[in-house]
């Protein structure tokens, strides 16, 4: 198992993750790494090849990949590292990360501060319990978007889209561009759930019919979708008998909501708000677990990417500060090491500030008996700072060496304190 240490680890390289990593680095964190499960940075932005990104931050109308590119370049300029094609399996409350990839196998990372930026996932069909068959040809809008824009394949030719989320509307237009027919978009609510601008630019402009207060009540087709049955719903969202309409199609896309992706957060003991599905956060985007921050759609689902980026900057800045504080604290401390013929010595770690205040005991036991006069040597970075004479040393008897506040100046700034037994 490879073991590493980073000041800040950002999980996910979408807009929130990229911004957080850049901000952490700019805040002074030494080493910052983004862990991304896909083979390149950018997250879902890479499959969002439509425009509409960056109007708030750049005052420009960019596509998703262009928007991501600007931050990817910036992250490289400031020296952010990336672990690609890598999946985080576990995150503990003590900020230890276990991740895997093909090249390195299992990687354990100790982290000063973590930024959760895993984004969100789409609600699947099962969550709606739509009756009917379970054939091929039922996709969430985001999966269809990946197939079309990244893989370069069409998931169908005649579509019905359930739900009027933004990805659904964007895909209605995208599929139309590719020569497919979008028969209808069906929304159970009396209003669209995505942005008005997407309704105008993606549905109205392409004459794609929108049916509000309707839902899908049946899916036909055993091997591949052959038709879906829609029906109007009453005020309790129950289908109204007699309003059924069978729509022949080969694909049903679902755009019925996004859920923050917090499986890892739960493992780390991060508390979630049942209303948003994301962590409870303070004004610095820190969760209830000290040193674990969160930003973007993992916290709550945003409307515009620009706000996600800003949330990432905020979380990253504070994560960076937190990590620096952590590093200072750990650097201040000395590791006490057992050398020649020392079985073990306590304490394992010594804070020089405590030594400045009062004398500190070092308690040790030797490994083998020496029935002769010996020195107990205390060394700091190879320099002898104290010598204690003993007439013999036996494993059955503990030996005590006392460091006094006068020794403070000799140990401050050092990393290790070595205790060893030498012949006199």
């Amino acid at each position: 198992m490879i073991e590493k240490r980073y000041d800040v680890v950002v999980i996910g390289s979408g807009p929130a993750g990229l911004a957080a990593a850049i901000a952490a680095k700019k805040a002074g964190a030494n080493d910052v790494v983004i862990i991304e499960r896909d083979i390149e940075l950018g997250g879902i932005l890479l499959q969002c090849i439509h425009n509409g990104f960056g109007i708030e931050i750049f005052e420009e109308d960019l596509t998703g990949p262009e928007y991501a590119h600007r931050f990817i370049v910036q992250s490289k300029d400031v020296g952010v590292e990336a672990l690609l094609d890598t999946m985080v399996l576990d995150l503990t409350p003590r900020r230890e990360i276990y991740a895997i990839n093909k090249r390195n196998g299992m990687i354990k990372i100790d982290v000063g501060a973590v930024v959760l930026a895993m984004g969100c996932r789409e609600r699947p069909r099962g969550a709606l319990a739509i009756p009917g068959y379970r054939p091929a040809g039922i996709y969430t809008a985001g999966t269809a978007q990946r197939l079309v824009n990244i893989e370069g394949y069409m998931p169908g030719e005649r579509f019905v889209i359930l739900g009027s989320g933004d990805i659904g509307m964007i895909m209605a237009r995208r599929l139309t561009f590719e020569g497919a027919k979008v028969e209808r978009m069906i929304e159970i609510l009396p209003y669209i759930s995505g942005l008005k601008r997407n309704y105008v630019q993606c549905l109205l402009d392409y004459d794609i019919p929108l049916q509000l207060k309707h839902t899908v009540i049946d899916i036909k087709g055993r091997d591949r979708v052959e038709a879906v049955v829609s029906a109007q719903v009453d005020e309790n969202w129950k289908p109204i008998p007699g309003t059924e309409d069978t729509i022949p199609c080969d694909t049903l896309l679902l755009s019925v909501g996004l859920i923050p992706e917090n499986e890892l957060s739960k493992k780390a003991g991060v508390e979630l708000d049942p209303l948003t599905g994301g962590p409870y956060v303070d004004e610095t985007m820190q969760t209830n677990v000290p040193g674990i921050f969160a930003a973007g759609n993992v916290v709550h689902v945003y409307d515009l990417v620009d706000w996600v980026t800003k949330a990432g900057f905020l979380a990253g800045r504070y994560a960076g500060k937190y990590a620096i504080q952590q590093r200072r604290e750990s650097e201040r401390k000395l590791r006490v090491i057992a050398g020649n013929n020392v079985h073990h010595v306590l304490p394992h770690i010594l804070d020089p500030l405590s030594l400045k205040r009062e004398p500190q005991d070092l308690q040790l036991r030797v490994q083998w008996p020496v029935e002769d006069r010996i020195w107990i040597n205390v060394e700091v970075d190879g320099k002898l700072i104290k010598q204690q004479a003993e007439r013999y040393a036996r494993p059955s008897e503990m030996i005590k060496v006392i460091l006094s506040p006068e020794d403070y100046k000799k140990v401050v700034g050092a990393k290790e304190l070595l205790i060893r037994v030498e012949e006199r």
Binding site: I100, N104, G126, A129, P155, E178, D223
Partner: protein
Amino acid sequence: MDEIKEKYKEVKGKYDVIIIGAGLVGSIIARWLSKYNLNILLIDKEPDVSTGTSKANTAIIHAGYDSPFGTLRGKLVVDGNRMFYQMCEELEVPYKMCGTYVVALTDEDIKTLEKLMENGRKKGVPGLEIISGEEMRHREPYINPDVKGALYAPTGGIGDPFMLTVAAAENAVMNGTKILLETKALDFVVEPFSLHKKKVSGVVTNRGTFLADVTIASAGLYCDELMEKLGIKYDFYVRARKGEYYVFDKAKKLQVKTVLFPCPTPVTKGILVTTTIHDNMILGPTAKEIKDKEDTSVTPMGLEELYEGAKRLVPKLELTDVIRTFAGLRAGGFLHDFIIEAPPKYWGFINLAGIESPGMASSAAIAEYVVNLVQEQGLELRKKNNWNPIRKSRPDFSKLSLEEQGRLIEKNPLYGRIVCRCEIVTEGEIVAEIHAPIPARTYDAIKRRTWLGTGRCQGSFDTPRVIEILSRELGILPTDVIKESKGSNFLTRLTKEVPERGLND
């Protein structure tokens, strides 16, 4: 039509035994027969084993207290349960021997429990015990607080019907059995035999005719259609009985740990609340007889019935964490008993009909019973001395320790890439299944073996990646990758390619 039949009549092989149907029962029969010096062929009409009743059921290992004393089913389930766990050990298939409970909510129900216990004890079901309501509440805290008592059957549990079928078929193949998928039995080869008997001497399939000394039909829902070809009509009918199910997210807080049955009615054991071998809570099944043997659609009425039924056992149940619904069909026999026999008018032919619940728990005993019937049909059975009962399982990444996971990736880097994030399934596991003795060549075949795509995102993340892997490993176009059956393709064409129907169709 005759011309087509002629075409299929070309003899493609000669075997000692042909088994029609590679479901759980057919595959386990194949494994049992592979102990002997026989040349065996196992065929199935679908591209994978375990695609019919075996793929969509409650997966309960029944203890056997409820099937009536004196019936074949009643006997085989008790014997089968006794053999089941050892079979799982040999085939390295997971199981949970967590015990099952029949829950009594009224004093009347307690009487039913006593009857069930008596029936079970008469048949030799070990360890049966009626526990108090208080004890039941202690064991399953979310149970209906009105519970009066429960019949506890310690030998009951939860199995993995897909993997058991795959493993049994694999073990049969390891021991010399030949398997042909996408091979549908269309008709039988029948010859004169004696004054009162005809001989079934083979099977006509879409891939030619295969001859055999003994033909075994383990065709599940389709057993009656095959019997019609031989003019066998039973004085009962076999109908498809639909069972619908709800599946819950693993992360659900309200979780049942064992198997909870309501008190049974004469028709059905009722709607259970239980978990899968992978710890997803499930509710089901409904029991509705239908005509269409392929109608696995989920219905609004069925779902409503499930919820209402399950709430009687676990009143706090809410549907917010449902991640999937499904329906399966079982061969519901009118007589409520297994038919496993050599029909008197034929020689060299064995038929299995009406193998519904508790088919999985009974399976090993069914196989042993069939072995005897095969012997009675004139085949001399001699045990092979090199029969290997052990089928090694392939690594389940999510069940390994961090160190073991690290070592596995070192050996094969494909285990370092997670394809299904919810269930933690790696590319290494998928590729291993694609190239296993019974190859997983479809999305659903991989899903049944690895549990990929069964979590809370229901395949949204893994589908594009699995299509890519199947295409690469099988050397086929991504557009030819299928979900389960012929025609269930995921993709239609490349983008920028003009659709065949034209743009303005």
